[in-house]
């Protein structure tokens, strides 16, 4: 691990002189500034004053946040979710898992093609940056493909060579491309093409016998004896096919037979007239010198490996690959020049899954690869059958740690946070806890976004988190003077003190202006009204207004009485409420009974000291008395 620690330098004089301090800013950012603790505190400028005092905002480079890679992030998320669904529902999911692995690879391929298109148009630093991404994702594709063959695909009989050849052909398409051009062009005399022999040999090394034969046919000497014999030999070359019904032992016998035959022809100097033909046949029988010669045609050791196996051990089993790979590396004497990609591929061939994961972690695509690959290998059961020395190795923990890192990284992005969440969702141990910590930290830029965040919290059964976010949004609305919105959020936050506070604001606003705003909201409170006493009062008072405006005086009056009898009237509102009784008392139709009127009169007596009633009290008393008279007469008549 120590060797992978990287050091980055921030050029700043104060930092150098004083030392530094750092504090986390947001999910992916760190703030760094020059700092030294004062050991013996005194009230005077520090030893560094006056000094420039900069705070550096640092972030790991996150290439996944580049718009050009957005598709990769989003599409891989789709496949990731499919993998989770699949493994959650189906018990036997191996064949499907292979499909998913291919899906991931085609996403990487699409991304590479996209990058290649873009690189054509780009220039300068951006071009270099894109080239860099291409290198990264080319490696990703190459490693993923091999891992798929070795760890995800169930290769019948462990006969891995055909797959390896596919892999090599895919990643070294040069010879195939050249051959196609040559074969489609003018016929005959192809040897004049400068790449002719390289293409013939290259095609053979990738196991494309037919292509090589077709190319040889287009040589102007194709009708001479050596060419004819070579063609015969190549045509007769046994190729193992596990579905042909031939057993490995039978095949090996045929193979040895063929090799002896070819060797005898070489010994008889049948091909000596043409250097390249002789070379080809020597390769076919595994002649070390010949193989030494053609190493130059191979860009990488694994290209040589596949070719070497094709001609010497066509029935090689996958578990033998590690040893043979090492031999190839020695053959090419590149042991000391081995690069990161080589190390990962070698580890894969040695079936050291953990080493693969370890190496892949240090690739600079911010954990995209290691997260998805580890998840896939986990579901393919490749992590549980490991012989790991450390006793407490838990495959699910390994998987989860990468998912959490990746999910957390995406949570730090303005528009990828929901994608990030979906990874945390599939971390059974700590995912929800991390969500609980990170979700409320998402800035609430707009009401729409807040609603989205709250919905995600509710979907994950995190009511406290949802409520807390609603409360914050309510505060924001309140500070902007948007009381209606604030109240709506406060209700969702189920914070009754906050609801009361806002209901109070409404009532005060009314008592000052005579206007009740946000009628819609107040009209549709439903059972939310129970959130606080103050809100009940506000709701009921609003209802009273509505009835009054609709000229339903009787109903309005009885609601008013029940309000007066209740214990939830704010002190500052008594004046208003008692004033409201006057027009009803004076109403043409009698709406208050004598009992009602007594209630009003009692309230009037209790509150007569109120300032705001001072000039209205006489009028109120008069109205009440008159109504009482009317009511008593009326009630007497009824009895």
């Amino acid at each position: 691990m120590e060797t992978t620690v990287k050091t980055f330098i921030i050029p700043n004089e104060l930092c150098r002189r004083a030392g530094v301090a750092a504090s986390w800013l947001s999910i992916n950012e760190l703030g760094v500034f020059g700092h030294q603790k004062i050991v013996s505190q005194v009230d005077k400028p520090s030893a560094f004053a006056p000094s420039d005092a900069s705070v550096f905002q640092l972030r790991q480079d996150i290439i996944l946040f580049k718009p050009i890679l957005r598709k990769l992030v989003n599409e891989a998320n789709g496949t990731f979710l499919n993998v989770q669904n699949l493994t959650a529902t189906a018990s036997e999911h191996k064949p499907e898992l292979l499909k998913m692995s291919r899906q991931y690879r085609s996403i990487v391929r699409a991304c590479l093609e996209n990058l290649q298109d873009e690189v054509m148009r780009a220039n300068g630093d951006y071009r270099e940056e894109l080239q860099n991404y291409i290198t990264i994702f080319y490696s990703v594709e190459c490693i993923w493909h091999l891992c798929e063959i070795l760890f995800v695909d169930a290769v019948p009989g462990n006969i891995v060579l055909p797959h390896l050849l596919d892999w090599v052909r895919f990643h070294f398409p040069k010879y195939e491309r050249n051959a196609a051009t040559m074969l489609s062009g003018d016929l005959g005399g192809l040897e004049s093409h400068p790449d002719y022999w390289e293409t013939v040999i290259g095609s053979l090394l990738q196991g494309r016998i037919k292509v090589a034969r077709a190319l040889l046919k287009l040589h102007s000497d194709a009708e001479t004896q050596p060419f004819k014999v070579v063609d015969q030999c190549l045509r007769a070359m046994p190729v193992y096919n596990m579905f042909s019904g031939t057993s490995v032992a039978e095949f090996n016998m045929q193979w040895n037979h063929w090799v002896v035959d070819v060797q005898s022809k070489i010994d008889a100097k049948l091909f000596i007239s043409c250097y390249n033909l002789n070379l080809i046949m020597k390769l076919a029988v595994g002649d070390e010198i010949a193989w030494g010669e053609i190493q130059q045609y191979c860009e990488a050791w694994y290209e040589l490996l596949a070719a070497w196996l094709f001609f010497t051990q066509p029935t090689v089993k996958s578990f033998e690959l590690g040893q043979l790979a090492k031999q190839c590396i020695t053959k090419m004497s590149i042991g000391n020049r081995i690069k990161h990609l080589d190390r990962v591929l070698l580890a894969a061939m040695e079936f050291d899954v953990l080493q693969v994961i370890k190496e892949v972690q240090h690739m600079t695509e911010n954990g995209w690869f290691v997260c998805h690959l580890t998840d896939l290998l986990y579901h393919a059961g490749r992590l549980s059958d490991l012989n790991v020395e450390s006793e407490n190795f838990q495959p699910e923990k390994l998987r989860e740690s990468f998912l959490i890192d990746y999910g957390t990284l995406l949570m730090g992005h303005k528009s990828l946070w929901q994608v990030g969440l979906s990874y945390l969702d599939h971390c059974p141990q700590d995912g929800l806890e991390v969500t609980k910590l990170l979700l409320p930290r998402l800035p609430l830029d707009s009401e729409l976004r807040t609603q989205k965040i709250v919905r995600e919290a509710i979907n994950r059964n995190l009511p406290e988190t949802a409520q807390s976010i609603c409360k914050v949004q309510g505060m924001v609305c309140k500070n902007r003077g948007r009381l209606g919105h604030a109240l709506a959020w406060a209700l969702k936050s189920q914070d009754s003190a906050f609801v009361s506070y806002l209901a109070d604001k409404f009532l005060r606003q009314y008592s000052e202006s005579g206007n009740l705003t946000n009628a819609d909201l107040l009209d549709n409170l439903g059972s939310c009204i129970l959130a606080s006493d103050r809100l009940i009062f506000l709701g009921k008072y609003f209802e009273f207004h509505k009835l009054y405006r609709a000229k339903e005086y009787k109903e309005a009056a009885s609601l008013l009485i029940s309000l007066l009898e209740s214990k939830i009237i704010p002190n500052y509102f008594w004046g208003i409420l008692l004033t409201e009784t006057v027009p009803l008392l004076e109403c043409e139709e009698m709406v208050f009974s004598s009992t009602d009127t007594f209630t009003i009169m009692q309230c009037l007596e209790e509150r007569e000291h109120l300032k705001e009633l001072k000039d209205k009290i006489a009028l109120s008393r008069l109205a009440a008395t008159r109504n009482l008279a009317r009511a008593l007469v009326h009630e007497a008549q009824l009895n």
């Binding site: 120590e2 700043n12 004089e13 150098r16 004062i38 005092a53 900069s54 450390s390 740690s401 700590d430």
Partner: protein, 310 residues
């Protein structure tokens, strides 16, 4: 690779002692030996000065933002023995509450997790820790004091995350009571854990490993219910990670002995990465691997005297 997204020239005339962003990372507050606190809008990579807060008469050591559900409050503490709580209204900050009941420099302020309400802890060179709680009914602040928390002085305080203690599965989460805890570090080389019991604060643990002044303590955000983690750093050049399964019994692991004194420890938002910084001009980032060992994942080094030549 790491890149400098933004280099914020704070305009302070002397050294910055703390830089903290608000809950959402949209505003940055800094405080300095020039007695001032400044607040910047750093949304979308910009740097716009929102306000320059003048109210302290000595170097300002630390600042802390409240949870946004209490409005936008910022607390600052200073050599002038005062703690000031500032309240924002339309981008401008005004003094909301001043606490002047310490006998010496106040070195550290931290707001408690919002689950406890609006509560602030302050650690002072007079050796005591104050806990200020806002009482919403009376709109007043209630202050409790832990006297003689650390001989010679308290340098840092940090709150434990609000975790409901695990009780039997039958009990409702409402009925399980949250226990308030905080950790402090001081000039007596000790790290202490405090717990609120009824109406007072008691010393729950005294963690003795450091051999010089403890400069910073940080209680990690909690993932999973069962483990508490605290990081402490000291002038003895060591960072120690303290862990506990129950909040009462603590184990210590020395993260590393550094080349110079360590001033600060800071946990990332989900507690998975610890940033360590100090006199050796380095910021190092540490992460726990699956075997539970702490590994350095990256260095950020400052200096080399490369002053911007532009």
């Amino acid at each position: 690779m790491v890149s400098i997204l933004n280099s914020i020239d704070t305009g302070h005339e002397d050294m910055v002692h703390d830089a903290e962003v608000d809950y959402y990372g949209l505003r940055l507050a800094t405080c300095s030996s020039d007695n001032s606190v400044k607040v910047y809008d750093i949304k979308n990579g910009g740097t716009a000065l929102l306000d320059d807060l003048k109210g302290h008469f000595g170097p300002v050591w630390q600042i802390a933002w409240s949870h946004p559900k209490f409005g936008n409050l910022l607390a600052s503490c200073s050599y002038d023995r005062k703690v000031i709580i500032w309240k924002e209204q339309n981008g401008k900050f005004s003094k909301y509450y001043e606490y002047a009941n310490h006998d010496s420099s106040v070195n550290s302020v931290q707001f408690a997790p919002p689950e406890y309400g609006l509560v602030l802890a302050c650690g002072s060179s007079d050796g005591s820790i104050s806990i200020l709680s806002y009482i919403s009914e009376t709109h007043n602040w209630d202050a409790k004091k832990i006297q003689n928390a650390h001989a010679i002085g308290c340098n840092a305080v940090s709150w434990a995350p609000a975790i409901t203690p695990m009780t039997s599965d039958f009990s409702q989460s409402d009925s399980a009571k949250l226990v308030k805890r905080l950790v402090s570090g001081g000039c007596d080389n000790l790290v202490k854990i405090w717990r609120e019991e009824e109406d007072r604060w008691v010393e729950e643990n005294k963690l003795e490993v450091h051999s010089d002044w403890v400069r910073d303590v940080a209680w990690a955000p909690s993932i999973g219910l069962h483990q508490h983690t605290i990081a402490s750093c000291s002038q003895d050049r060591r960072v120690i990670i303290w862990t506990s399964d129950d909040g009462t019994n603590w184990n210590s692991t020395v993260l590393q002995t550094f080349d110079d004194v360590v001033w600060n420890v800071s946990w990332s938002l989900n507690g998975n990465i610890l940033a360590v910084s100090g006199g050796d001009n380095k910021i190092t980032l540490w992460k726990q691997n699956l075997q539970g060992n702490w590994q350095c994942v990256s260095d950020v080094v400052k200096g080399q005297g490369q002053i911007n030549s532009q």
